[in-house]
């Protein structure tokens, strides 16, 4: 309970800090991605189903909400209607889950993953064909602002039109919170628990009276529904949905979010969604090579921290709590330092190379030091730290082994 109270408190205090519009935009995307990633983890982390097509449910839920948004009349009630759109999204996602899950949940493991991949591509390309429903390349767009002027409610003037981004923040915060709580609660229900049992040992689950396929199917529907909530939130936030939103790319992205965050922990996907959304929207502004960095981060996590960021956090906390913390922390910080040195060198290489390759003729100038690609100094600045950092890491690792 406590973590959720903290979560709620954080959500409520954020606007008080007077975030800039950039921050609001970022936070809104984060909220959507949190819901999306959590819903994905109902499948991957809990039920052990690796899906490459989760965006289908996000997208279909979103499309339904989008259409609903366009039907809602323009009035004060329209604003309330827009606010409630994620419910429609849920219905859409769950319905899609119920239809698609029927054939795909009969099997788990790789066949399930492959079916999901096929269905994602299928739905995405079908979406391009049915223009009246999905809008073709252009997609379907709408207007969330259903009322222009402030209205008086109980004697107070309320200025909540869903137009400005700060209004949308409240909408997103509300639904993020509600959906997270519900999804958490889901893990505590008989069905939620049995989904984990089915992941671990479907055969055994059958011999305690549960039909594994049925369990998977129901979880699949629920997960689709929550993905649809995310879709509904996205419909309101972005005011557009395109067939691309159903495709493999966003499906892959949600996989990255959940996995980088850590699928073994409930909060993992939340963490992953926050970090990746941040990278996606802010980082891409700083460096053109952000996808390269994302790839590197991801590979590093897969190789060295399979429990994701949440796993790292938990290990850190445990590390502090357990005896011998001082020595362990010292070693960790040495490691981190060495890794940072190597990373710095790597960043120089990447940034210099990106600029060189782009051919706009600009040079990488960290802290005002110009590092043109032609100068040997540049490569010295880049390669020495990489070598030194790696050597140091090796040294530290070896010393702690002994």
């Amino acid at each position: 309970m406590l973590p959720f109270l903290v979560f709620a408190a954080v959500l409520v205090t954020i606007p008080a800090l007077g975030p800039s519009r950039t921050w609001y935009t970022l936070l809104n995307s984060m909220g959507i991605n949190i819901v999306f990633a959590l819903s994905y983890n109902m499948l991957l982390g809990r039920a052990g189903l690796l899906s490459f097509g989760h965006a289908v449910y996000f997208g279909l839920g979103g499309y339904l909400a989008m259409h609903a948004m366009n039907w809602i009349p323009e009035s004060v009630l329209g604003v309330a209607g827009v606010f409630a759109l994620p419910v429609i999204g849920f219905a859409g996602g769950a319905l899609a889950g119920a239809v698609i899950g029927w054939p795909s949940c009969r099997r788990a493991g790789i066949p399930f993953a492959m079916i999901s991949l096929g269905i994602a591509e299928l739905v995405a390309s079908a979406a391009f064909i049915f223009v009246s429903v999905f809008g073709g390349e252009e997609g379907i767009s709408g207007d969330r602002m259903k009322w222009f002027d402030p209205v008086t409610l109980f004697g107070h003037e309320v200025e909540f039109t869903m137009g400005p981004i700060s209004d949308v923040y409240w909408f997103i915060a509300f639904w993020t919170f509600v959906a997270s709580v519900l999804m958490y609660a889901f893990t505590r229900t008989p069905l939620g628990r049995m989904s984990e049992a089915v992941r671990d040992n479907p055969e055994r689950a059958a011999f305690v009276g549960y039909n594994p396929q049925q369990v998977r199917y129901l979880v699949f529907i629920a997960s689709g529904g929550f993905a649809g909530v995310g879709g509904g939130m996205a419909a309101v936030n972005f005011e557009i949905f395109t067939p691309e939103n159903l495709s493999l790319l966003p499906s892959g992205f949600v996989l990255l979010m959940a996995y980088i965050g850590g699928i073994r922990y409930f909060a993992g996907p939340i963490l992953g969604a926050i970090v990746l959304t941040f990278m996606q929207s802010s980082f891409s502004g700083y460096s053109e090579a952000w996808l390269l960095y994302l790839g590197l981060l991801f590979i590093t996590i897969v190789m060295f921290a399979p429990n994701g960021l949440a796993g790292i956090v938990v290990a850190l906390v445990n590390g502090v709590r357990m005896p011998g913390a001082a020595a362990r922390l010292a070693r960790w910080s040495q490691m981190t330092l060495a890794a940072l040195i190597a990373l710095a060198g790597l960043v120089v290489v990447i940034e210099v190379a990106v600029r060189w390759s782009n051919g706009y003729g600009d040079t990488f100038e960290p802290f005002g030091i110009a590092l043109p690609h032609g100068s040997p100094l540049t490569w010295l600045v880049a390669l020495v730290p990489i070598g030194a950092g790696l050597a140091l890491m090796r040294l530290i690792a070896r010393r702690s082994d002994a």
Binding site: R204, G209, Y210
Partner: protein, 257 residues
């Protein structure tokens, strides 16, 4: 007369051309403890799989309390009150011991696929789980992940999950395999106590266990039951000695005296 708790009628199973179960007939009365012994590969586990719904029989029928269950999927058989354990421990490895047992309890307590209520909200479930844990002596280890349990405890947990659902026909496949003498003794005591008033069908290679526990014994050999009877009858049966017991019959006979 009431119907037998479990009745197997001319059950057959082929895997491709290989006929593994060749017409087994068996009738087990309510409350009976029945053991199945037989050489390796005789088809004991296969028979278990057929009865419990993991495989579909090629022909023949299995009846539980007079009701036909052959052909039903495993979960349906379980819901009708038949529960089994596995020869190789088959528990939910990433869950704690308590959760493992709770999973065994859930369906029988009517929780079904509920997703609108917390698993903790039902006091009955909590109590039943605690009771089972206490019964098998795993209360202290209740919060350990099952994967970290020592082997013998995993076997115990296997039994615990099997009896948790409160089924009245319990089938155990080599429950004491790999246990030491003292652990075996404890396990036998546990089985005896946990299945009191229930019907038990057990496969074992440990003759001490079999002769200590069973009311009746059937000997399965190459997919056929070659003998059924009280322990002393089986011990004396020359066919059984030839097919299965070998020298051990002599040892057993000695021990019995």
């Amino acid at each position: 007369m009431t119907a037998p708790a479990l009745e197997i009628v001319d059950l057959r199973k082929n895997f491709g051309p290989a006929e593994i179960i060749r017409g087994v007939n068996l009738s087990i009365e309510p409350g009976e403890r029945h053991a199945i012994i037989g050489p390796n590969g005789a088809g004991k586990s296969t028979l278990f799989n057929l009865v419990s719904g993991m495989f579909k029989p090629t022909s023949g029928e299995v009846r539980l309390n007079g009701e036909r269950i052959s052909g039903l999927p495993a979960y349906a058989v379980n819901r009708k009150g038949l529960s089994r354990s596995f020869q190789v421990s088959s528990v939910f490895t990433n869950m704690t011991v308590r959760e493992n047992v709770r999973c065994g309890v859930l369906w029988s307590m009517g929780q079904k696929y509920a997703f609108w209520k917390s698993i903790r909200s039902s006091k009955a479930v909590q109590d039943k789980t605690a009771a089972i844990l206490a019964q098998v002596g795993l209360t202290e280890k209740a919060n350990l992940p099952a994967a970290l349990l020592p082997y013998a405890d995993q076997r115990t947990l296997e039994i615990a999950i099997t009896i948790a659902g409160g089924a009245d026909v319990i089938m155990l496949d080599e429950p004491t395999a790999g246990m030491s003498h003292s652990e075996t003794e404890r396990a036998v005591a546990l089985i005896a106590q946990a299945t009191r008033g229930k019907t038990l069908l057990i496969v074992e290679h440990d003759m001490g266990v079999v002769f200590g526990l069973a009311d009746r014994i059937s000997v399965l050999c190459y997919g056929e039951i070659i003998a059924t009877g009280r322990p002393d009858e089986i011990r004396g049966d020359p066919k059984v000695r030839e097919a299965y017991l070998g020298d051990e019959a002599a040892t057993l006979a000695e021990a019995a005296h």
